[in-house]
């Protein structure tokens, strides 16, 4: 079965600093995977490498079986990315942004789904306001709606739950679960360990540019029953171990 995402030996350096040191990761369709780790572990850099917006120093990225270097257009068409809210164009309205991306991706017919998602996230009243008039959370909703246009086999969401109100966060989780059930893979970078423990199928801990742990659904279920603190405790142990060594 073709993996939705296949990373092999990803290396990234910023000058003398090794940001990613040989990351291998494979996501199957239908998986909801959390990318967790401390600040500076390389989560956002890894997301940018997958999205093709960050040059890497080694390794390969395959999205839905398509090599990102060999066919970047097809690979990117198979990918939905929620951009950082501050990168959205300040002077366009939310509706214009969504229509433009739908046009670009050849998904004009699927716009009804986007409007419906905007409604569920509570973004609909802001659709015709310019982006600069929206709050951080509202811009986050726009970035999410834009990422979910069409049915991309892989979704990349970096801290997408940040700044969302509880209703919108619930609606987003439901939407992501539906997408996963329909066969899409979701990679969600997050600091919310409780979210990772309760909502995701798998959690991957990135530490010093390497994958330090990969907990599957059974492990996460065990964490939920662990009186010591579950995933939080496990992550803290790994961090202490890394610092002491």
């Amino acid at each position: 079965m073709t993996a939705a995402l296949e990373l092999s030996a990803i290396h990234l350096r910023h000058g003398p600093n090794h940001v990613l040191r040989g990351v291998d990761l494979r996501l199957q369709g239908g998986e909801l995977v959390g990318l967790i780790g401390p600040n500076g572990a390389g989560k956002s850099s890894l997301m940018q490498v997958i999205a093709g917006t960050q040059r890497r120093d080694g390794g390969s990225v395959r999205i839905a079986g398509i090599d990102l270097d060999a066919d970047p257009l097809a690979a990117r068409a198979a990918l939905g990315v929620a951009v950082a809210p501050e990168r959205l164009p300040a002077l366009l309205s939310g509706r214009q942004c969504i229509e433009l991306v739908a046009d670009l991706r050849g998904q004009r017919d699927g716009l009804e789904q986007s409007w419906a998602l905007a409604e569920r996230l509570g973004f609909a009243p802001w659709l015709d306001h310019p982006v600069h008039a929206c709050s951080l959370g509202t811009r986050q909703k726009l970035a999410i709606v834009q990422a979910l246009i069409g049915r991309p086999p892989l979704l990349l969401l970096d801290e997408a739950l940040n700044g969302l109100d509880p209703l919108a966060a619930r609606a987003l989780k439901d939407e992501l679960r539906q997408r996963a059930d329909a066969g899409s893979a979701v990679l969600l970078a997050t600091h919310g360990l409780e979210v990772a423990e309760r909502f995701l199928d798998r959690a991957v801990l990135l530490l010093d540019g390497r994958i330090a742990a990969d907990w599957d659904r059974d492990c996460l279920r065990d964490f939920r029953a662990d009186p010591r603190g579950g995933l939080e405790f496990a992550v803290a142990e790994r961090l202490r171990g890394a610092h002491s060594s």
Binding site: G15, P16, A77, L92, C97, L104, G106, P153
Partner: protein
């Protein structure tokens, strides 16, 4: 999933931005009319200035085309190349980082957009050069000038494509002005100033001076050095004044009235302005052109102070700074042309009004 291979999102964004601007102007006709009038006035003033200086311009360009035609063309090509190099680098950075960076935009679409933008850039440069040369009565110089612009543009565009790995930013403590633990606001401006005057940024200006110097005489060297100084001062001015807007974003929520920190951020720009004006005045006096010093430096000093006051007054809404400066400068220049004795009181009133606004923005003084 199938992306539309022929869809150019950057063109679509531009079209939407213009549509939104037009709708905004329609929604606020008074403001739009005022902005249009201010722009029209500025264009009229610029046109009048160019026409009034037509003879001087013709004389200067005539000497250049007679005595150093190749040097002039080289300088033009260098300027065009530098502008195209920066435009292409800016475009690449934008495409790599903007909100559409991860979207499936095909290479042919990007290539088309790239060369369309380059052609537009070249057309604007060509139009400006054409107007200046025709005003100076040198139509024969136009074809070689356009060829120089084209050559410079091509070299600049291709040079920007040479892959360079992003360098790690120098740590702040490595800059010459930083001392550890010194948190005074003007040090921030000095760091920005040192960045603006970095050798890499001055290289193109030095190259321009080098092109002009071998043709001999002091009359060629001096303009090159003055150009170098003016451009370096302008870059330093922009960077140090820009800190005021950044400081506002940073300090707006702090329990500090503006008068506690804002005046301190005027010290470095004023020092830079004073030093540059003093140096230029000294050079003019030594060259026996004291009148020229007054004619050049007085308006420069007045406009620079007005700009500083506009930045301070509108620092909370930086988008208004350019418009405010345009309006204040247009009014001042118009009055200076029509009723010269009123120019000084008007300038002082403008400074006072802007200064008051600057100090009352944010938390008022106790």
């Amino acid at each position: 999933m199938s992306a539309r291979a022929d869809f150019d999102p950057h063109s679509a964004v531009r079209a939407l931005l213009w549509r939104n601007r037009l709708m905004g102007w329609r929604a606020r006709p008074g403001e739009a009319a005022f902005l249009g009038a201010a722009l029209g006035l500025a264009a009229l003033l610029l046109g009048a200035l160019l026409l009034s200086q037509r003879d001087n311009l013709a004389a200067a360009l005539g000497v250049l085309s007679d005595q150093g035609p190749l040097a002039g063309l080289l300088a033009l090509a260098l300027l065009a190349g530098s502008a195209h190099y920066r435009q292409r680098r800016r475009q690449r950075r934008q495409w790599a980082r903007d909100w559409l960076a991860a979207q499936p935009v095909s290479s042919p679409v990007r290539r088309r957009r790239r060369w369309r933008d380059a052609a537009l850039h070249w057309a604007l440069q060509a139009a400006l050069t054409g107007i200046v040369l025709l005003l100076a009565g040198l139509p024969a110089s136009l074809p070689p000038a356009l060829a120089a612009l084209l050559a410079g543009a091509l070299v600049g565009q291709l040079a920007a494509d040479v892959e360079r790995r992003p360098k790690v930013r120098r740590k702040l403590r490595e800059t010459p002005f930083v001392q550890r633990g010194a948190g005074r606001p003007w040090r921030w401006q000095l760091i920005e100033l040192s960045a603006a005057l970095a050798p890499r940024r001055l290289a193109i200006l030095l190259a321009l001076a080098t092109v002009l110097v071998p043709r001999g005489g002091l009359w060629m060297i001096l303009p090159a050095l003055i150009l170098l100084m003016v451009l370096a001062t302008l870059a330093g001015w922009q960077r140090s004044v820009g800190v005021i807007v950044q400081a506002q974003r940073w300090l707006a929520e702090q329990p500090l009235p503006a008068r506690r920190w804002l005046p301190r951020l005027g010290v470095v720009p004023l020092g830079l302005l004073g030093a540059s004006c003093a140096l230029a005045a000294l050079a003019c006096v030594l060259a026996d052109h004291a009148t020229l010093a007054w004619l050049l430096l007085l308006p420069t000093f007045a406009l620079a102070l007005l700009h500083l006051a506009c930045v301070m007054a509108h620092r909370a809404q930086p988008r208004r700074i350019a418009l405010a400066m345009l309006i204040h400068a247009s009014v001042l220049l118009a009055v200076a042309q029509a009723l010269p004795p009123l120019a000084l009181p008007l300038w002082l009133t403008q400074l006072g009004w802007l200064g008051r606004r600057a100090l009352t923005t944010g938390i008022p003084a106790p």
